[in-house]
Assembly symmetry: none
Homo-oligomer: 224 residues x 2
């Protein structure tokens, strides 16, 4: 699950990222309306945490644009206590939930979970491809009741490819979404290939995986 955090206070942003990363989310930080909109346009996020008071405009505009684009992203708005009047306004615009600062991180976690589930539909806990069942919550994969032991990276890769099924995912995208930061990783390495191979090997024991394609020169794609 990918979260876009729109928050100009660096301290809070770092805190959120820290907490949510540990909860298994992949986080991206945007500090301005502009960068938030661009991010939302280019990449696909499951949810956005949106602070209203941004340096280059109101978060409401971001919310409006996002909803106009009809993306399936869940939006949780974060307000300071003084801005409570916005509450009505915001819900009308299509925010999925509200939090007033200060808030407990566990509270945020709970709402995030609920909201994502609601938006994605109840199937969000479980993805299915060709008989393989992916349980997102507890990092479990199984094929017809037979559990398959995947490492975290393998799971993350599998999950991301399945979430984006029928689209080619480049190695760069995988590094971004599974590792979070591209720069930390040496570029001319084949570590993704290795993980993909190990993943394939484990899946292949249970059933044919011809739907797990390699697109030469581009990346990988899972077809359903």
């Amino acid at each position: 699950m990918n979260i876009l955090i729109v928050e100009d206070t660096k301290e809070l942003a770092v805190e959120l990222i820290d907490y949510l990363s540990k909860s298994g989310y992949i986080c991206k930080w945007a500090a301005t309306c502009e960068s938030a909109l661009e991010e939302a346009e280019v990449n696909q996020y499951d949810a956005m945490l949106l602070d209203l008071g941004l340096p280059d405009g109101s978060g409401f505009d971001v919310l409006k644009s996002v909803r106009k684009a009809k993306s399936k992203m869940a939006v949780i708005v974060i307000t300071a206590r003084g801005e409570l009047d916005d509450k009505i306004n915001g819900l009308e615009l299509g925010a999925d939930d509200y939090l007033t600062k200060p808030f407990a991180l566990t509270e945020l976690g709970a709402r995030l979970y609920a909201v994502i589930r609601r938006i994605h539909g109840f199937a969000v806990n479980e993805l299915d491809v060709h008989g393989f069942k992916i349980q997102l919550q507890d990092y479990k994969v199984s094929f017809k009741e037979n559990p398959i032991a995947l490492t975290k990276k393998e799971f993350d890769i599998f999950q991301y490819l399945v979430l984006n099924k029928n689209r080619v995912i480049t190695r760069l995208q995988l590094t971004e979404h599974v590792w979070g930061d591209v720069l930390e990783v040496s570029s001319d390495s084949n570590f993704i290939d290795v993980h993909v191979r190990n993943l394939r090997k484990k899946l292949d024991k249970h059933a044919s995986i011809e739907w797990f394609e390699t697109v030469r020169n581009v990346g990988y794609r899972i077809i359903s």
Copy 2:
């Protein structure tokens, strides 16, 4: 998509090229105003990344010249934080967007995508010709639900011809846009003809391709 990177710091340039190449762009590097202008004049680029502090003059002059030439190139200016006052000046001159160093590569990617889209006017990720569907993002081509397996070069050639349909595209243009650098490739070769043939062969299996013309002495053209 072709990007001209105008940046005198070799390290940064290499980093940019590395990242953008992996994102599917074809990159060319110019380290000075002079070479930048020359490049922009000779070849056609979809976007330019322009650093302002260049050894032989200000990047603004490059920007001015480029805009004077009325090319459809998107320009993203890169400034150091101290040069922020230039911002107004630059936007007036016709830069499409700004980035202040240091910036995240993904941020750059997002803006580049947005800017190119705006300039070119195509939010298109699907092209259609005579029943053939080209999905640009996913590197997929199909004819009436039947997928067609193309290699990357074949795909690139097909895509470029369709993007420029009803126009004759020379072999030189194709080498520039598909291979990026003309000089690396020996000129008196028929490798394009070969790729075109292979492409045609694959397409022809599904339907007549009389609309895929050869224009003698000039190049190829797809008519719609």
